[in-house]
């Protein structure tokens, strides 16, 4: 029996090791701030901010639903942070990010019980519709700058104001630290009992209900967690760009996050950020070198991934949920 247990259980020690490795990776990435050029730090900040939004979609995908409307929470977080900066005179970056996350939850939470009743295309369309409603409201609200949005002054970092050229540096550190910690939390969640039940919901909802768990409550909670992640991503993006606009809630923005989620797959947290980084790099280069073909490249790449790597690029290095057997034949 002991043998079997060791065969199947990662146990406490490897889990701690995994967390330690994660923390180390975050620290290394933060350390990179001192050697990387400014433009690359900006790319990294954008990758982190978009990655954390995508993480929310991945979370929901593990439960079996795909949201085509994360723009809603992305915009809500961005506007919440920007408005708090403008009207409440708050300037601390971390505080604004937290407000972004909470603001997004406030906007999204009322819809959670409703959304938890839908699946498949209807879930996707309803999330899409909600994000477009916000878009429509934002475009026509002149107090918020209408379709142009508005600008945000540079934030402070724990009381320290930063010069223009230091802004990228500080934002990068904040973004990596915040999204890194959230990523670690996501990893813990994925490996938890609740994370495993979510995967079962994705496979067979009926059985999970028949086992005594509430699928709707699980999906609603996941939606709210994803909203928080989306809001944090929105706030980080706004702080980095110094600007917020209704396009954050447009369907094409949501589409990009879904694209990233499919690319990354739903088993590896690291894959989400790797995918986001890839996209940001492609986006940066494309503006200079191939402005009229990069979307084509993205489209083709997405098709290739859907066809040949249906579990996303994360499947290239991540262990599948099925624990490794010792006696039976070769399975992943």
């Amino acid at each position: 029996m002991d043998d079997t247990v060791h065969r199947h259980a990662p146990g406490r020690a490897p889990a701690r090791r995994q967390l330690a490795a994660g923390v180390a990776a975050i620290l290394v990435l933060m350390g990179c701030a001192f050697v990387l050029p400014r433009w690359l730090l900006f790319v990294g900040t954008m990758a982190a901010s978009h990655g954390v939004v995508t993480l929310g979609i991945v979370l929901m995908m593990r439960g079996g639903v795909v949201s085509f409307g994360q723009g809603l929470v992305f915009a809500a977080g961005g506007y919440a942070a920007a408005l708090a900066g403008m009207y409440w005179g708050l300037s601390d970056a971390l505080l604004l990010v937290a407000i972004g996350g909470i603001g997004a939850v406030v906007i999204a939470a009322p819809f959670a019980p409703l959304l938890s009743r839908y699946r498949g295309i209807f879930f996707a369309m309803l999330t899409l519709a909600l994000s477009m409603v916000l878009y429509g409201i934002l475009v026509k609200t002149t107090a918020l700058g209408g379709s142009d949005g508005f600008n945000l002054s540079r934030p402070t970092f724990f009381g320290i104001g930063v010069e223009a050229d230091q802004g990228n540096f500080a934002m990068y550190l904040l973004a990596v630290a915040v999204t890194g910690l959230l990523g670690l939390a996501a990893r813990v969640y994925f490996d938890s009992t609740r994370g495993l039940v979510a995967l079962a919901v994705r496979e067979n909802e009926l059985r999970v209900e028949y086992l005594g768990a509430s699928v709707r409550r699980l999906l609603a909670t996941d939606y709210i967690i994803a909203a928080f992640l989306g809001g944090v991503g929105g706030a980080l993006t706004v702080l980095a760009l110094g600007h917020v606009e209704p396009n954050f809630s447009y369907w094409t923005t949501s589409g990009e996050f879904v694209f990233l989620a499919i690319l990354a797959g739903h088993h590896s947290v690291a894959a989400v950020f790797v995918a986001a980084l890839l996209l940001e790099l492609v986006r940066s280069f494309s503006a200079l070198y191939f402005p009229n073909t990069w979307q084509l490249a993205l489209g083709l790449f997405l098709l290739v991934v859907i066809r040949f790597l249906p579990m996303g690029i994360g499947s290239l290095w991540s262990r599948r949920p099925a624990a490794r057997p010792a006696s039976t034949g070769p399975t992943a």
């Binding site: 498949g120 295309i121 309803l126 519709a129 909600l130 409603v133 084509l296 489209g299 997405l302």
Partner: protein, 297 residues
Amino acid sequence: MLALTILIDGITYAAWLFIVAVGLTLVFGVLRILNIAHGSFYALGAYAAASFVGWLVGADMPEWTTVAILPVAALAVAAVLAPLTERLLLRPFYGRDEVLLVLVTYALFLALEDITKLVWGTTPYYVFEPYSLFGNIDFGPLTYVGYDFALVLVAVLCGIGVWWGLNRMRTGKIVLAVIHNAEIASSMGVNVSRIYTGAFLFGIFLAALGGALTAPMVSVQPGLSVGVIIISFAVVIIGGLGSIEGAAIGALIVGIARALAVHTWPAAELFSIYIAMAVVLMFRPEGLFQRIQARKI
């Protein structure tokens, strides 16, 4: 007077919406694919129309040809792209998760955005010749362009044509059989594969037709597809995915709602449509006229 204005605006807009959206609901009805690239084919129809009309004008052809060429442009787009798309991109994914197919069409949308830019460039095209051919119509103090009313006629013809084709013609009844149960239809000897290809071809033709007919009304430039797809979704969801009658009712609802908003509460113009979509999804997710039963557990 206001009521009349709203009604006329609503109906003309609804006509446009119906032509643009009916192909989307047809493709979903037969193939169960929610085609995000529908907007891209719409745009391609517009661009093709711009090119064809440009050639006609350059060759000094009579004015009426600039209108007659519009459906031809749409047909060209559909004939070239639809079979290729269906066979290469969609067929490998039939039977898989419906959301997966949506993602495939999203990838197609991304690709077509750039392909359109590569072929036609980024400067806008103006195809105004056909627009003025139908003269103007006066309703008291208001003047309307005849073209817009011609579209109403086209929409009605389209609607009747598709309905009649499905319910009265033999091929149409076969298509209905495939819609209800493809497996059984197949075991009765129906070439389901050919039906899928044909339905997709027709749906894309309708999308491109929408674009071709719209080209004279707008400036044809990158970004056309993005707005159209979302409004088509709204129309089709409200009416019920897969239902032709639903697309008509959905178009009317959205058209009149928008006209109402524009004339009484302009700020609500954009989101009123999406609120309608959200409300319908919340209370009758299968739309008002759902023809295809949502899968039961």
